[in-house]
Symmetry: C2
C-alpha cells in the first residue's frame, strides 16, 4: 500500500488542485511539468501513473487534461431551492420537475448531510411555527423528498384542499393527522388523513446572519 506520498507526488497533487481551483479545468502534463519544475513530461506521466494506482487520481487515456481528482467533486451537492414553505405555492414531490425552471436558486451543502443526495431540496421558512425547534423565519430547511413519515418527524406537509404547504411535526392519529407546530403560542392543526401529503423530511437547517 502507498501510505506516504513522495514529495514530488505531493507537489503534483497540490498543483493539480490549485490549477483546478484557478482555471476550472485540469492541467496538462506539460502544465504540471513546468509548474513543478520537472525536467520531462515522461516523469510527470510516470508519477501520474503512480497517483492513479494509489487511488488519488483517475485518468482518461489519450484525453487531454483527462485528470480527475478522486473524492473532490463528490463532497459537494447542489440542491434546488423549491419555494418558500408556509406560503401558498404548490410543492412538487420530485424536485427535478421544476429544477430547471428555477435553477438559479440553489444551495450547496455538505454531502454528508443526508444519504440520498439526489432527493434533497431546500425550502425557505416563512413564519415562526417551528421556533421551539430552533428554526425561525428566514432559515433554509433542507429536506429529503419522501411521501411518508414516522410519527414525530419534522416534515413538509401539503394540505390538498387548502393548497397550502406547511412545516410541522407529523403525528398520525387514526383517521386524522395532527400537525404539531413547535411554538408554545400556537396550537396543533388536525386534518383528515386523506387531505395530507407528506413531501419531505427535514434533514438540516441553514441560517445566515448579515
Amino acid at each position: 500500500m502507498v501510505d506516504q506520498l513522495r514529495p514530488r507526488q505531493q507537489a503534483i497533487m497540490r498543483f493539480i488542485e490549485d490549477f483546478l481551483d484557478e482555471n476550472g479545468y485540469p492541467p496538462t502534463v506539460r502544465d504540471i511539468q513546468y509548474g513543478c519544475n520537472i525536467s520531462s513530461t515522461s516523469v510527470v506521466d510516470y508519477n501520474l501513473k503512480g497517483l492513479v494506482r494509489g487511488g488519488f487520481l483517475r485518468r482518461s487515456k489519450e484525453v487531454s487534461r483527462g485528470i480527475e481528482v478522486v473524492g473532490r467533486r463528490e463532497r459537494r451537492v447542489k440542491i434546488p431551492v423549491l419555494a418558500a414553505i408556509a406560503a401558498g405555492q404548490p410543492l412538487p414531490v420530485f424536485p427535478q420537475d421544476v429544477a430547471t425552471a428555477i435553477e438559479e436558486d440553489s444551495v450547496d451543502i455538505d454531502a454528508g448531510m443526508a444519504a440520498n443526495t439526489d432527493k434533497l431540496y431546500a425550502l425557505r421558512v416563512k413564519g415562526d411555527s417551528m421556533i421551539d425547534a430552533l428554526i425561525r423565519d428566514g432559515d433554509m430547511v433542507v429536506l429529503e423528498a419522501q411521501e411518508s413519515a414516522e410519527p414525530g418527524e419534522m416534515v413538509a406537509a401539503w394540505l390538498v384542499q387548502e393548497e397550502e404547504a406547511t412545516l410541522k411535526r407529523f403525528f398520525p392519529e387514526g383517521e386524522r393527522v395532527r400537525l404539531q407546530p413547535e411554538n408554545t403560542t400556537m396550537t396543533a392543526i388536525y386534518v383528515d388523513a386523506r387531505n395530507v401529503q407528506i413531501r419531505g423530511r427535514v434533514v438540516g437547517v441553514l441560517r445566515r446572519y448579515e
Copy 2:
C-alpha cells in the same frame, strides 16, 4: 443584450455542465459536436463564442478543454472546521495555520454566506448558551475571522487567562467586557478587556438532523 439563449446554445450549456459533472473536466469542441448532434466543429466554435460574449462561459484561447462555466465553481467554498467551541482548545485566528492539519474536517457552504470567503471557518457548538439565539449543542457555526467586533455582535471570544473559547454576544463596557449568553437561565460573564480576544463573528449556522 442576450436575454434568451437559442435552443442550440441551451443544449450546449446543458451538455457542458453534464459533462463536467460526469468527468470532472470540460468537454472538447468535438465532444460537444457529437453530444449535441452538430455537424461541424466550426458551428460549435461559433456558438461557444456567442456564449462567451453573453457571459455564460469563459474560454482560454488555444487551450484544449479550456472552457469554464461562469459562476459554477465560485459558489462553493470549503472551509475548515477548527475545533469545538466552549471546549478548552485554543482557537487560532488564522484558519490556515491549522487547516492542513485537520483538513479532513471541513464543511462546504454556499459562498453567499459571507463576503470574505477565505476568512471563514467553522466551529461545532458545545452547550446551550446560545439557545435563545436558536443555536444549540451540536450545531455548526460559521465564522468570519476578525479581531474586533461591534457591540451586540455574536462572536467567538478567547479568554486569555482561562485559555477558553466561548460563543457569546459581545458588549464592551469601558474597562471590561460583558459576554452575554442567549439563554435566560445563564448570566453574563464579565471579563477584563485585556483578557478577551475576538476571534470571529458568527455569519451562519448549520444544523443536521438524522
